[in-house]
Symmetry: C2
Subunit: 241 residues, 2 copies
DNA sequence: GCAAAAGTGTTAATGCTACACCCATGT
DNA sequence: ACATGGGTGTAGCATTAACACTTTTGC
């Protein structure tokens, strides 16, 4: 049998197929607190609960393409750091029908986060409270600005928890922290981002030296302005080369 | 609209749905060399090429259940260390139709690997040659026992490469190495596994001390036998508690 | 000058590397 | 006795943590 004959004989309807969706964990650090963007559900199931923005994967687009399309359509964003997180496939995770969801997480600087909130009014900011430390993992609690706990839909608390865990794990051997900062930033801002994600205080001189020794930072010569104390030097993330 | 009305109105046929498969990267370290189990394809597409064992996800089983079912049916294995790896979703990764594949990787001790080879005669052993080092990543070359390169089907070289990368990354902060060893093992055997996965030689005293200081090892008091030199102490992996 | 935060030097502790050496077993 | 690999002690090196200190700005 030739490949061509085989393709004609292959029956794609032989297996009952699930739907496949992509959900986005859009994260940032806002004023020293880890945060994510959520949407309040306006339909069943989980009407009124809070969910991650997401949508179905079209038959003619890759998973990565679907993630970028949703990033543009749901959050009006281009060019964010984005990476596949995990695929959630419990049978009853969606009561409507079988839906397998591929979770992606994206990292945005605070300013872009604010712009997304303005451009997409159905998005809401949620602070993330991480009730575990280190490599423990588990779900995460989302809180609104006035301190109320936002009940989450589906298995989205697990997705948020896994995103936080991944972020913590990659923090000090990869450049993910720079995706959460503007192009130019102070060492203090970089340390604040690290501390917010890790949930711990870090030693200032040790942190400075570690970052500078790594060779990822490039001093711009410019300085922060507006503060009533010594202005800090602004650095830039040195991208390969 | 009530939840019940919504469910009745929801039309699961509204989107054209992809097929979803699970592919298994079954790995071990055989005589000091990383290895995987492959099957030679007997159908189009990629007739004659080598592929990871896999199969479609049924509509009424979770992804994890599908992985375990395939582990039992394809490799005749129960109780291996298994974990989800990554989801591959390029549009044309399978020429038949749209198939999204969730890759899992499983770790087996050498003896279980040999047993799987015996119980499932369509499986073949492939040594893995890793042409990159550290955190670089990329595809991997599979070689048969007599040194020939085995051409791989689909994107399975990428799956093997990602599995090796994940294994390397988790090696020294998690207990994955113990999944590649029998219940009782010598420190030398543990070091051999580390060296095979990392592709480097390690310092013996430093390795010993690091492992023992970690508290994951429990001496059994028993000793290896059969060698013409001083017998080594056998240790056991201390599982939580 | 003072407050506040940036930025630096110095020391102590820790962990890792390398090397040398001793130990126990089968032949 | 000897060859072989298991197992241990010690000294040197590098990396990191902690603390104290100096510097620079706005008010």
């Amino acid at each position: 049998m030739s490949e061509r004959e085989f393709l004609q004989a292959y029956d794609p309807a032989a297996y009952e197929r699930p739907s496949v969706a992509v959900d986005l964990v859009l994260m940032s650090v806002i004023d020293g607190v880890p945060a994510a963007l959520l949407m309040q559900r306006e339909d069943h199931p989980y009407l009124g609960r809070w969910a991650l923005p997401g949508g179905f994967v079209a038959i003619d687009e890759s998973l990565d393409e679907a993630a970028h399309r949703l990033l543009a359509s749901k959050a009006r964003m281009q060019d964010a750091y984005i990476e596949q997180l995990y695929t959630f496939g419990a049978v009853a995770r969606d009561p409507r029908t079988r839906i397998i969801s591929v979770a992606y997480f994206a990292l945005l600087p605070q300013a872009d986060f604010a712009a997304a909130l303005k451009a997409a009014p159905d998005l809401a900011l949620a602070d993330l409270v991480v009730p575990w430390s280190g490599e423990a993992g588990g779900p995460v609690v989302a809180r609104s600005a006035d301190g109320e706990t936002l009940p989450l839909a589906f298995d989205h608390a697990d997705m948020l928890g896994l995103a936080m865990l991944r972020l913590r794990g990659k923090l000090d051997y990869s450049g993910v922290a720079f995706a959460l900062l503007p192009e130019r930033f102070t060492l203090r801002a970089l340390q604040d981002v690290h501390e917010a994600i890790l949930g711990t205080k870090l030693n200032k001189p040790a942190f400075r030296r570690r970052m500078l020794d790594r060779g990822w930072l490039e001093p711009t010569g410019e300085r922060e302005s507006g503060a009533s104390f010594r202005p800090a030097e602004l650095y830039r993330h040195r991208t390969g080369g």
